[in-house]
Assembly symmetry: C2
Homo-oligomer: 150 residues x 2
Amino acid sequence: MSRPLTPMDRAFALAEEAAADGEAPIGAVIMEGERVLAAERNRMQALRDPTAHAEMLAIRAALAARGTGRLDGCDLYVTLEPCAMCAGAIAHTRLRRVYFAAEDIKAGAVENGIRLFDQPTCHHRPEVIGGLSAGRSEALLSGFFRTLRT
Amino acid sequence: MSRPLTPMDRAFALAEEAAADGEAPIGAVIMEGERVLAAERNRMQALRDPTAHAEMLAIRAALAARGTGRLDGCDLYVTLEPCAMCAGAIAHTRLRRVYFAAEDIKAGAVENGIRLFDQPTCHHRPEVIGGLSAGRSEALLSGFFRTLRT
């Protein structure tokens, strides 16, 4: 018997779907307790929109699903450390926790770069749990970028 | 004879429309040369979406209008200094210039707080021109927040 899918498993399935579709392989899931509020993945190429990161799409979908104008008490699972834009959106929507897989040394803004949630001008600091299945995410991303270069 | 409307005049008209609608008075216009690509304003309350800042809506509308997946060579005019989320979106879309009116000491991320475009992890730095009609924007914002408190 296989174990039930975790939210991060779902995020990885979405990241793989993105890769198969020629998008950078990043997936994001937002949970409210046991309920999947949103499950999205990178759609930058398809939408011709460099802001169409998995997290931004998931946040807007979760807001639409919830209807309260906030995501307090909800948790985000994402396969890559969020960038400044996405970290800003996480703070604005008051997400409770952020679980991420791989760190993003170049553009991450949570445990790298600007470390947005640690700044005095950041008005909401979610709990952050990084490094879950980091190797799986790194393999997916490096495989994808290797394909782009060949 | 009245002078033609500047992009910042348009942004202010949108900010006033937002205030009349119970939204924080912030407007944004994106120009490609003489062409208005997008003109939006804060819609956080109406959309029940704390990420529905004027800049984010204008950026997505301008991307849709242009269809190239980038806003290189385009300029953003906004009545308030962008936050971290919006500054991130500005960098991702490669906007050429950002003109803003009032500084936002509490949540601004361009000349205050994280100063995103000055960070080594920021991959595109637009030209920034701040302080245009700053007093007009400050009066609009303080009038709005005064109303909220009474």
